[in-house]
């Protein structure tokens, strides 16, 4: 039992890959078994991660840390651990993956084996990114995510999947190669200052880097993360990737992959290069706010549901980046919660779009109308998710948006107020979507009897679809009404992050007491 407790995190990270290995031993024809193994593995992973959540003690130190030398000559080790920030994202990953796998039961009917293997390997890579405490290990996981995602879009995608998958890979590679260069530079800086080679995150964060070095390294890291988020104007890969990806791919992409950007900013850009971060904060905040408004405007005029949701992500993730770079306790907490919220509600929106696409084979909004009369329960679920996304108080989206806006005002007052405009716009594009799809008389092509001659053409949610949606709905309400358990777990880590940042960037000649005053004024408000 002790052994298990000590290696729980590693177990969680690699259990999905073990499941993938088991699936590889099966034959493609054993679809049912393949699906059950995949679902079972991801569910066990989730249950294990819940123990981590329960056992996580409020505090800013990394917990569940494991360290094993890997390539000792280069100072590289296998080191993982989590703090409050990564805890929530790990939970999000283990929560969304089984839901995604379950949704793939319907959405993916060809090459099931390959798909499930790709999804499970993907989960390992994603968990690895969130848990890695060794920058080399982080990079390995980071790149490892790319491969399954490339196949998920490129093999199981829509008509234009090749263009989309290559665009996705090239965009991401561009960023990550520059990041690799910066990692090497950081590595040699580490050697110069510490006089030994190390890739340990905790040791590298103690380095003192010159402003010039910081600037270049920050840019290299930040570009990579900005593409992932995606921050305006690096967003054009996203709508294409979403439209072409199969439903489960879109869900993973929106719910978890995009969070890598926000997480990267929090874990690497800010603690490693605080002074450079200060310099670039105005630029990034402007891009974030432009993204909020711009993404919303784009979403308003999209004729394709998936594109609409994709552009809405640009808008919502703009809030996240604003929260992170406003660097107050509330805004950063809000940013993290908003990452989780976006994962839930946008993930759910993609699931819902997928469900209706499987019935009608069209995603064009103009082909719909009056769906609420034909599929009332589907409509109700869709509406709840939409409202969560709009930020209606009582549902999850509000908590994040509110914290971001309130928290950002101290440091970025103009940006905070412009962001409020985004709140109006999100109501416009989402309610207009709901209006066109669900209200009015049913579109002729949608009503009537199904092809088999039995039952309506558009049956309401099936029990499997309920099984997919209910957990998400539950979390949408829990996070909206009682986010306290989540907020409490991230608070110490965020406090430390924010304080370190303001201390590191306080002008020279100010002593500790003044720094604390600055904290009070900026950090804690």
């Amino acid at each position: 039992m002790d052994w298990l407790a000590q290696h729980l995190l590693t177990l969680i990270i690699f259990l999905p890959t073990v499941g993938a290995g088991v699936i590889l031993l099966l034959r493609e024809a054993q679809r049912g078994l393949i699906r059950r193994v995949a679902l079972g593995t991801s569910l066990v992973t989730f249950v294990l991660s819940y123990f981590i959540f329960k056992g996580f003690e409020a505090g800013d130190a990394f917990q569940y840390v494991e360290q094993v030398p890997w390539i000792p000559n280069f100072g590289i080790s296998y080191q993982v651990g989590i703090d409050g920030i990564s805890l929530l994202l790990v939970m999000l990953t283990t929560f969304i993956t089984p839901i995604t796998i379950l949704s793939a039961f319907n959405a993916v009917r060809q090459r099931v084996k390959g798909f499930m293997v790709a999804l499970l390997v993907m989960e390992t890579a994603m968990l690895g990114v969130f848990a890695a405490l060794d920058i080399f290990l982080f990079y390995i996981f980071w790149e490892a995510m790319l491969i399954p995602m490339y196949f998920i879009i490129g093999v199981w995608g829509g008509e234009n999947r090749l263009y989309a998958s290559i665009k996705f890979v090239l965009f991401t590679m561009l960023g990550s190669l520059l990041m690799l260069v910066a990692i090497f530079a950081l590595y040699s800086q580490g050697n110069a200052q510490l006089e030994y080679y190390t890739t340990s995150y905790l040791e590298l964060t103690t380095l003192k880097l010159s402003p010039m070095t910081q600037t270049w390294m920050f840019l290299a890291f930040a570009l990579s993360f900005a593409i992932k988020v995606p921050l305006f104007p690096f967003h054009t890969w996203l709508p294409d990737a979403h439209v072409e990806a199969p439903t489960p791919g879109s869900v993973i992409l929106a719910a978890i992959l995009l969070k890598m950007g926000g997480y990267g900013f929090l874990r690497y850009c800010l603690p490693l290069f605080p002074e450079a971060a200060v310099r670039f904060t105005p630029l990034i905040v402007v891009l974030a706010v432009v993204g909020i408004i711009y993404g919303a405007l784009m979403a308003m005029v999209q004729p394709d549901m998936k594109k609409l949701v994709a552009y809405s992500s640009v808008s919502h993730l703009g809030f996240v980046v604003l929260g992170i770079f406003a660097l107050s306790l509330q805004s950063v907490s809000g940013g993290i919660i908003q990452m989780v919220n976006h994962g839930l509600s946008t993930g759910a929106l993609f699931l819902l779009v997928g469900m209706i696409y499987e019935r009608t084979h069209t995603r064009q909004i103009a082909d719909y109308g009056g769906l609420a009369g034909l599929m009332p329960r589907y409509a109700a679920v869709f509406l709840i998710v939409t409202l969560a996304s709009i930020g209606l108080p009582g549902l999850n989206g509000f908590v994040g948006e509110f914290l971001i806006i309130v928290g950002s005002f101290n440091t970025q007052p103009v940006a905070a107020i412009v962001a409020v405009v985004g709140v109006i716009l999100s109501a416009i594009y989402l309610l207009w979507l709901v209006h066109r799809v669900f209200f009015g008389q049913p579109a002729v092509a949608l009503s009537g009897i199904g092809e088999t001659g039995k039952g309506p053409k558009l049956p309401d949610l099936t029990s499997r679809e309920w099984a997919v949606m209910l957990p998400v709905l539950g979390m949408v309400i829990i996070l909206g009404v009682y986010p306290q358990p989540f907020l409490k777990r991230i608070e110490p880590s965020v406090t430390t992050l924010v304080n370190t940042y303001w201390q590191a960037t306080a002008p020279a000649g100010i002593d500790q007491a003044d720094v604390e005053i600055i904290d009070e004024n900026k950090g804690n408000k």
Partner: protein, 640 residues
């Protein structure tokens, strides 16, 4: 005592959940009973607490209950906590009391509608949200209620969503409200930034003594007022309310007349301390209020849809309430809010009864002469129109005249606010009696259309009768001193409302009850004149109306077409906005941003295509390039 506070909101929440989740196993009747019982529960708890209050000395009338921490991060700690004081007590009773009657009425009105369970679950959800709004002890929880009632309004306006236009009206309401809500949110941010708390009472305590410039209070209160303008349908954001009449009529009565739309007035009264510190905002509130009151009244004159008349009349009456709070007469605003809830609720339910009797007909031109067919509806509506017109002795008289007196005394003597208020009162009397006469008197146009009107069942008429009694008696809690009363209502609310310098009797140099009586007399004469004129035009000489319309020409057309405001908004705001987004997408996103991405992709492909030619695979080429290289190196070494 405070421990039972949460029950007020819990009952409707349970009702919502039962009807929403288990509705399909309930019969239509059960669904209505459960919803009504839930609201009855809230009413009884509120009433019991109010009675307990009356026995207490004024300064002890406060109950608070904190349920749990909602959003705690650092020193920001938003709690779910309720505050029951005289102001929220009045609001809770109005919401649950009038709400209860409307729930019961709905059992009859919605009978046979396939969506009745959905209807009752939404109605309970609305009650839950509205009670949160009025009981919240902090502004964020209040905002939850604020947005929640907006959601229910959206859902219930578009209740018959198969009709695209109705669903569109719901969407319009939500979006227009969101514009106001953005103001509310920014106000929250500013307040938190300044005071480090969002508790209503803590802010009210800290604000007066704080060393803060006037500008801060003006900005914050103006932003809050923007929220109020949206929710309470004032100029320039009133355009959603007339469209909101697409919802079932009891919904119009509950949400779009008696309760939700008054939330803006409540917001200002609740934060009266803040508003009192911002005289500039107060003036704007009063001016917007009186302009809206007058403007909406001039539209109501010419509308033919019975519900549209009532909608514009609601906008107009809300304008009165804003005038009241704007001149600092907070309790007068709340008083009118309460009496308005009675008589406007009554009028809407009466209109619903007429519509019900005519199988959905809403056009005044198809009505007339319904007095015999709908006797109860007739006399209860007569009470309603008399109350709203301000006939002495009915509730509307007391509350409206308190507002007019406050407006008059505000500026120490003659005030154009008062004059505009009096004129509007005359117009109001005219158009309300126009509605009444055209419905119940004159030529029975429904005969030609082949309707067979019938009186509504007692489940609908009993609420009408009860509301009629409230419309008469509701005013007697606030009899002014000039008429020998003590205005108990005012004194009940006094402890929780700010005192705005220069309000009411104290403002006038020599407070004269004679003057107040004189003004009451003037307003009564004006009102009676309006009623008489309506009688002449619509009962005595029915042809006169068309003549007048002809003679008024342009004015009539403007009023009839609602001054083309919707069209102007569409042309000046909606269309350019859509064009901007469309243009930005097609030109900027696709051509410029993505063009750059694809362009660099193509450029790389072209460059590598060019470089590729070097790799020709011919040994001779490689050999000669190597030779060239060797020569270069040699030359380099030689020079060096």
């Amino acid at each position: 005592m405070a421990e039972t506070l949460y029950l007020i909101t819990l009952f409707p929440l349970l009702g919502f959940l039962i009807n929403g989740l288990a509705g399909r196993w309930l019969s239509e009747k059960q669904s209505g009973y459960i919803a009504s019982l839930a609201v009855l529960g809230s009413f009884l708890v509120s009433a019991q607490l109010l009675l307990a209050f009356l026995a207490l000395p004024a300064e002890e009338r406060l109950l608070t209950q904190t349920l749990f921490s909602w959003i705690p991060v650092g020193d920001l700690n938003i709690q779910v906590g309720y505050r029951f004081d005289p102001l929220s007590a009045v609001m809770a009773l109005v919401v649950s009391g009038v709400g209860l009657l409307i729930h019961i009425y709905s059992i009859g009105y919605m009978q046979g509608d396939p969506g009745v369970r959905r209807y009752f679950s939404f109605l309970n959800l609305f009650t839950f949200m509205m009670l949160n709004l009025v009981l919240a002890d902090n502004l964020v929880l209040m905002f939850l209620g604020w947005e929640g009632v907006g959601l229910c309004s959206y859902l219930l306006i578009g209740f018959w969503f198969e009709d695209e236009a109705k669903a569109r009206a719901g969407m319009k309401a939500f979006i227009v409200n969101r514009i106001g809500d953005a103001g509310f949110i920014v106000a929250l941010i500013l307040l938190y930034h300044q005071f480090g708390t969002l508790s209503i009472s803590e802010i009210a305590q800290a604000a007066p003594g704080a060393q803060i410039g006037r500008g801060f209070f003006t900005a914050t209160t103006l932003l809050m007022f923007l929220g109020a303008v949206g929710k309470s349908a004032q100029i320039p954001l009133y355009v959603w309310l007339p469209d909101a009449m697409a919802g079932p009529t009891p919904v119009s009565a509950l949400i779009h007349a008696a309760t939700m739309v008054t939330a803006g007035v409540y917001l200002i009264a609740r934060n009266s301390v803040l508003f009192s510190l911002a005289p500039a905002t107060m003036s704007i509130v009063a001016v917007i209020g009186i302009i809206t009151a007058f403007f909406a009244a001039t539209i109501a004159i010419t509308q033919n849809d019975i519900k549209k008349v009532l909608a514009y009349s609601t906008i107009s009456q809300l304008g009165y309430m804003f005038t009241a709070v704007g001149v600092g007469a907070f309790s007068a605003g709340i008083f009118h809010l309460m009496t308005h809830a009675f008589f406007k609720g009554l009028l809407f339910l009466g209109a619903g009864s007429v519509i019900h009797g005519l199988k959905g007909e809403q056009d005044l031109r198809s009505m007339g002469g319904l007095k015999e067919q709908l006797p109860t509806t007739h006399w209860t509506m007569l009470v309603g129109v008399m109350a709203i017109a301000g006939i002495p002795g009915l509730s509307g008289f007391f509350s409206k005249d308190e507002i007019l007196w406050a407006a008059f005394s505000r500026h120490e003597g003659f005030s154009w606010l008062w004059l505009a208020g009096i004129v509007t009162a005359g117009i109001t009397a005219f158009y309300m009696f126009r509605l009444f006469f055209r419905t119940f008197y004159g030529k029975a146009a429904w005969q030609e259309a082949g309707y067979q009107p019938h009186e509504s069942p007692s489940v609908m008429t009993i609420p009408l009768v009860l509301l009629a009694f409230l419309s008469i008696l509701g005013g007697y809690v606030g009899i002014p001193a000039a008429l020998g009363g003590v205005n108990q209502f005012h004194h009940f609310l006094e402890p929780v409302l700010a005192v705005y310098p220069g309000v009411g009797a104290a403002a006038v140099q020599h407070p004269s009850q004679g003057l107040e009586l004189l003004l009451m007399g003037v307003s009564t004469v004006v009102v009676l004149g309006g009623i008489y004129y309506a009688y002449r035009v619509y009962v005595q000489q029915p042809t006169l109306a068309d003549d007048l319309a002809q003679r008024m020409g342009l004015l009539h057309r403007l009023s009839f077409n609602k001054y083309f405001v919707d069209e102007a908004y569409h042309l000046l705001i909606v269309r350019p906005f859509q064009a901007l987004a469309e243009g930005l997408w097609k030109w900027f996103d696709i051509q410029v941003v993505d063009g750059a991405v694809n362009g660099s992709g193509h450029a790389i492909a072209r460059i590598s295509g060019a470089i590729r030619r070097i790799q020709s695979g011919l040994i001779q080429h490689y050999a000669s390039i190597i030779l060239l290289g060797v020569i270069f190196i040699l030359i380099y070494l030689y020079i060096d």
